[in-house]
C-alpha cells in the first residue's frame, strides 16, 4: 500500500491535527479561567467597576474559547479506541485510569460550574458566583494534571509490568504513574506555558485597544495583569523547560540529540541556535552555536558528554533489536527551536512592556498619566519612546498574542515526534498501535471530515472572537451591580428577564 496513505500514516496525521487543534484552546482555557477568576475576585473585594467590566470582557472571550476546547476534547476521549485499538488493548490497564479520573473528577467540575457561572449572574450571591469560576479553574488544572500524567507514562513508562499471557502492560504502581518526575516536570512546564499563553493573549488585545486609545481604564488594568502574567509565567516556563529537558536527556536521549541535530556525541557539546543546510544529512553547516551550553542543559555541567543521534541509535538497536530508532530530525530540530523562540519572544516582549509602562512613582512628573490616559512608553529616565518606536512596541505587543500558541503547538509536535518510532517509549512502537480492523477508507473519511469541520469552526470562532474583542468591555447594568442575595435569585419580580440567556 502507498505509504503516504497507509492507515498508520493517516491515523498519525489525524491524531496530530485533532490534538494540535485541541491544544490551541486548552492553554487559553486554563489561563483565562484563572485570570478571569482573579479579575472577578478583585471586583468582589474592591467593588471597582473596571474589574467587573474586565471580568465580563475576558469572561466572554474565555467562554467562546472554552466551547471549542470542550467539543474538540470529546474526540480525544474516543479516538484512541477508533484509530488506535491495539494501543488501547495494550495500555488500557494503565492509560485508561488517568483518563477516567480526568472525566470523573475534572470534567464534571469544569462543565457543571461553567454552567453555573454563565447563567448564575442573577441566580447566585456574589461570592458563591465567584467560587464557581474558581471551581472551573481548579477543574482545568486537574484535567491538565491527569492527562499529562497519562502522556508522561508514554514518554517514560513506570509502575507497570508486562503480562505475556494477556499480551499487555499492567499497572503495578499508580502512585508512581501520577508522581514520576516526568509527569511533575511536564505538568509544571505545560501549566506555566499555558499562563504565558493567556497572559500574551491579554497583552495583545489590551495593547490593540490602548494603541487605538479605546476603553483605556479597563485595558490598562488588563495590560498590566497580562504583562505580569507573561513575565512570571515566561520565567517559570524557562525554568520548567530546563528541568524537563534534563529529565528527557536521561529518559529519551534520542529525542534530545534529535532536538539539537547532534549526530555524534561530544564532550562540552554546543547549543545550536540556528543551522543552515540540511540537518537531516548527518552534518550541519551550522551558523551560530553557543559552546558547551548543550552539555550544561543536559547535565548541568559545561564539560560533560552528550551522546549523539548515531550513538543512541546504536545503543537502542542493541537493546531493542535491529531497526531505525531515529525520529524525523528536521522536525525535532526546528520544532525545538520554534518552541523556545516563540515562547521566549513573548517573554521578552513582556519584560520590555513591564519596564516601558512602569508605575507612576518610577517616572518623572511630566511622563505620568492619569487613570484614563494611555501610558507613555518610557525607555530611559526622562524621555518617552519616539512615536515610531512606540508604535513598533505596540505592534509587537499585539503580535505576541499568537506567539505562545505557535510555541505550544511546536512543543507538542517536538515531544511527540521526538519519541518516534515509539508510542510508549521502549515498550510499544507506533506501527503496532493502530486499529487492525479499521481500513484506509475509514481513517481517511474521519480525517477529512474532522479537518474540514475544524477548519470551518476555526473561521467561526476567530470571527466571533474578533467581534467581541472589537466591541470592548460591556457597560454595566443595574442587575450587574445588584447581584442577588439568595441562591436561586431574589424573587421580588417573578417575570424579570434572565440576566443571561442563550
Amino acid at each position: 500500500m502507498d505509504l503516504a496513505l497507509a492507515p498508520e500514516t493517516l491515523a498519525r496525521w489525524q491524531f496530530g491535527i485533532t490534538t494540535v487543534y485541541h491544544f490551541l484552546f486548552v492553554p487559553l482555557t486554563i489561563s483565562l479561567a484563572a485570570l478571569t477568576a482573579g479579575l472577578q475576585t478583585a471586583w468582589v473585594r474592591t467593588g471597582k467597576e473596571k474589574y467587573l467590566r474586565a471580568t465580563k470582557f475576558w469572561g466572554k472571550l474565555f467562554l467562546i474559547n472554552i466551547a471549542m476546547g470542550v467539543v474538540t476534547g470529546i474526540v480525544q476521549e474516543f479516538q484512541f479506541g477508533m484509530n488506535w485499538s491495539d494501543y488501547s488493548r495494550f495500555v488500557g490497564d494503565i492509560f485508561g485510569a488517568p483518563l477516567a479520573f480526568e472525566a470523573l473528577i475534572a470534567f464534571f467540575f469544569e462543565s457543571t460550574f461553567i454552567g453555573l457561572w454563565i447563567f448564575g449572574w442573577d441566580k447566585l450571591p456574589k461570592k458563591i458566583h465567584l467560587a464557581c469560576i474558581w471551581m472551573v479553574s481548579i477543574g482545568t488544572i486537574l484535567s491538565a494534571y491527569f492527562i499529562l500524567a497519562a502522556n508522561s507514562w508514554m514518554q517514560h513508562p513506570v509502575g507497570y509490568k508486562i503480562n505475556k499471557v494477556k499480551g499487555r502492560a499492567e499497572l503495578t504502581d499508580f502512585w508512581a504513574v501520577l508522581t514520576q518526575n516526568t509527569a511533575l516536570s511536564q505538568v509544571f512546564h505545560t501549566l506555566s506555558a499555558a499562563f504565558l499563553t493567556g497572559g500574551a493573549f491579554m497583552v495583545g488585545i489590551a495593547a490593540w485597544h490602548l494603541f487605538r486609545k479605546r476603553h483605556i481604564s479597563v485595558m490598562k488594568t488588563s495590560l498590566r495583569l497580562g504583562l505580569v502574567t507573561v513575565v512570571i509565567a515566561g520565567l517559570l516556563t524557562a525554568i520548567s523547560g530546563d528541568t524537563l529537558g534534563k529529565v528527557m536527556f536521561k529518559q529519551q536521549p534520542m529525542k534530545m540529540a534529535a532536538a539539537e541535530a547532534l549526530w555524534n556525541g561530544e564532550d562540552s557539546a554546543p547549543f545550536s541556535i540556528f543551522a543552515v543546510g540540511d540537518v537531516d544529512k548527518g552534518h550541519n553547516k551550522v551558523a551560530i552555536e553557543i559552546p558547551g551550553l548543550l552539555s550544561y542543559l543536559a547535565n548541568g555541567d559545561f564539560g560533560s558528554h552528550v551522546p549523539g543521534i548515531n550513538d543512541v541509535n546504536k545503543a537502542e538497536q542493541q537493546k531493542y533489536g535491529p531497526g531505525d530508532y531515529r525520529p524525523v530530525i528536521p522536525v525535532t530540530y526546528w520544532g525545538f527551536r520554534w518552541m523556545i523562540g516563540f515562547g521566549m519572544a513573548s517573554f521578552a516582549i513582556g519584560v520590555a512592556g513591564l519596564w516601558l509602562t512602569r508605575k507612576k512613582f518610577m517616572l518623572p512628573q511630566h511622563l505620568r498619566v492619569g487613570e484614563d490616559e494611555v501610558p507613555h512608553l518610557v525607555l530611559f529616565k526622562n524621555k518617552a519612546l519616539s512615536p515610531k518606536l512606540g508604535k513598533l512596541y505596540w505592534m509587537l505587543a499585539i503580535w505576541t498574542l499568537g506567539f505562545p500558541l505557535i510555541a505550544n503547538s511546536w512543543g507538542w509536535i517536538f515531544t511527540e515526534m521526538g519519541r518516534q518510532p515509539w508510542v510508549v517509549f521502549g515498550v510499544l512502537q507506533t506501527r503496532s498501535a493502530v486499529s487492525p480492523g479499521v481500513g484506509q477508507g475509514e481513517v481517511l473519511t474521519s480525517m477529512i471530515v474532522l479537518t474540514l469541520l475544524y477548519a470551518a469552526l476555526a473561521v467561526v470562532e476567530v470571527k466571533l472572537l474578533a467581534k467581541y474583542v472589537k466591541a470592548g468591555p460591556p457597560e454595566l447594568t443595574e442587575a450587574d451591580l445588584n447581584p442577588p442575595t439568595k441562591i436561586g435569585g431574589d424573587s421580588h419580580d417573578a417575570d424579570k428577564p434572565m440576566a443571561f440567556s442563550y
Partner: protein
C-alpha cells in the same frame, strides 16, 4: 461479586446516567423544531437546558473513559468496530456544543436560524444512533477470535438495531417533552404536554416491541422484571402527563430509561460484546477487563467521586429550578 462485575454495573450506571440526562436535552433539542412556534419559544426551550447540557454530556465522556480503564478490550473493539456511526455522533456532539454556545452571540437572524437547525439535527441523529449502537451491542456483531470487529458499516443497520434507534429517538423526545412541561410556563407548557402524549404513545409501541424482542432473544428472569418496570413506568408517565402531574411524569419517564437500559445490560451480562460468529469469541466481563489492581484503584476513585458529583450536579438543578417562559427571555443579545 468480583470487581469486574462491579465495573460492569458501574459502566451500566454511567450509560444510564448519560441517557437519563442527555436524553432530555436531546429531546429538547428536537422539540425546537417540533414544538416551538416562534423565536422566543425556541429560546425558552434552549434555555431550559442551557446551564446543564454540558454537565450532562460529561456522563458520556466518563462512560468512555471508564470503559477504557476497566474494560480496555471492550473500548477498543467497540469504538474501532462502530467507527463510522461513532464518527457521526462525535461530529454531531461537536456541532451541538458549539451551536448552544455560539447561537446567541450574534443578533443576525440567519446566524441564529442556522445554529437552531444545527441543534435540531445534532440532537436527533445521536438520539437515534445511540439506540442503533446499543441494539447491535446486545444482539451481537461479527467479532473474530482476536476481538476485532470484522463486519461492515451496513451490518450495523439491521432491523433490530434500527428499531432500537427508533426507541431511543422517541423515548428521548418524550422525555424531553415532559421535561419541557416541567420546566416552562405559559402556552408552551400546555403544548408540551399534548405533544408528550402523542410521542409517548409511539414510544410505548416501539419500546414494547423492541424490549419483547430483546427478552425473547437473550432475556432471563431479571431482564423480564426490568422490562415490566420499563413498560409500567412509561404507561405511568403517560397517565401522570394526562393528569397534569408534571413532576411525576418526568420522574417516571426517567424510570423508563433507567429500566430499559438496565434490561439491555442484564440481557448482555456476562458478555460485554457478544460475537455473532462464535460465542467463544465474545468479549466478556472476564476476558475484556483490566487487572484487579487497576479495578481496585478505579473503584476507590468512583466510590469517593461519584457521590460528590451527584451532589453538586443535583445542586445545579436546584439553583435553576424556576420555570422559564417567554417573559424571561430578554430581547437584547449580550
Amino acid at each position: 461479586m468480583q470487581l469486574h462485575d462491579v465495573w460492569f454495573v458501574l459502566i451500566a450506571v454511567l450509560w444510564t446516567g448519560y441517557f437519563f440526562l442527555e436524553g432530555f436535552d436531546f429531546g429538547v433539542g428536537i422539540l425546537t423544531k417540533l414544538l416551538a412556534r416562534d423565536r422566543a419559544e425556541k429560546r425558552v426551550l434552549i434555555n431550559t437546558i442551557g446551564p446543564v447540557w454540558d454537565g450532562n454530556e460529561v456522563w458520556l465522556l466518563t462512560a468512555g473513559g471508564a470503559t477504557f480503564a476497566a474494560f480496555p478490550e471492550w473500548y477498543a473493539t467497540l469504538f474501532s468496530g462502530f467507527y463510522l456511526p461513532l464518527l457521526i455522533i462525535l461530529v454531531c456532539l461537536i456541532v451541538r456544543g458549539v451551536a448552544f454556545e455560539y447561537r446567541a452571540k450574534r443578533p443576525e437572524e440567519h446566524w441564529q436560524r442556522n445554529w437552531e437547525t444545527a441543534i435540531f439535527w445534532s440532537s436527533l441523529i445521536p438520539a437515534f444512533l445511540w439506540g442503533v449502537a446499543f441494539g447491535n451491542i446486545v444482539r451481537g456483531v461479527k467479532i473474530d477470535k482476536s476481538f476485532e470487529y470484522v463486519g461492515t458499516f451496513w451490518d450495523l443497520l439491521n432491523p433490530y438495531a434500527l428499531l432500537g434507534g427508533v426507541v431511543t429517538l422517541t423515548l428521548f423526545t418524550f422525555h424531553g417533552a415532559v421535561f419541557t412541561a416541567l420546566k416552562t410556563v405559559g402556552d408552551i407548557r400546555e403544548r408540551a404536554r399534548k405533544l408528550a402524549l402523542q410521542v409517548g404513545l409511539v414510544t410505548a409501541v416501539a419500546a414494547l416491541v423492541f424490549l419483547l424482542w430483546t427478552q425473547v432473544d437473550s432475556g432471563d428472569g431479571k431482564s423480564l422484571v426490568a422490562l415490566i418496570v420499563a413498560v409500567a413506568a412509561l404507561v405511568g408517565a403517560l397517565a401522570a402527563n394526562q393528569a397534569g402531574r408534571e413532576g411525576w411524569s418526568f420522574a417516571l419517564s426517567g424510570v423508563t430509561i433507567v429500566a430499559a437500559v438496565a434490561m439491555l445490560f442484564l440481557s448482555l451480562f456476562p458478555n460485554v460484546m457478544p460475537s455473532s460468529l462464535n460465542s467463544d469469541w465474545s468479549l466478556t466481563v472476564t476476558n475484556a477487563s483490566s487487572s484487579p489492581y487497576t479495578l481496585k484503584i478505579m473503584t476507590w476513585c468512583a466510590a469517593v467521586a461519584t457521590p460528590i458529583v451527584l451532589l453538586y450536579q443535583g445542586w445545579t438543578y436546584w439553583v435553576f429550578r424556576k420555570r422559564i417562559g417567554t417573559q424571561h427571555i430578554a430581547e437584547a443579545v449580550h
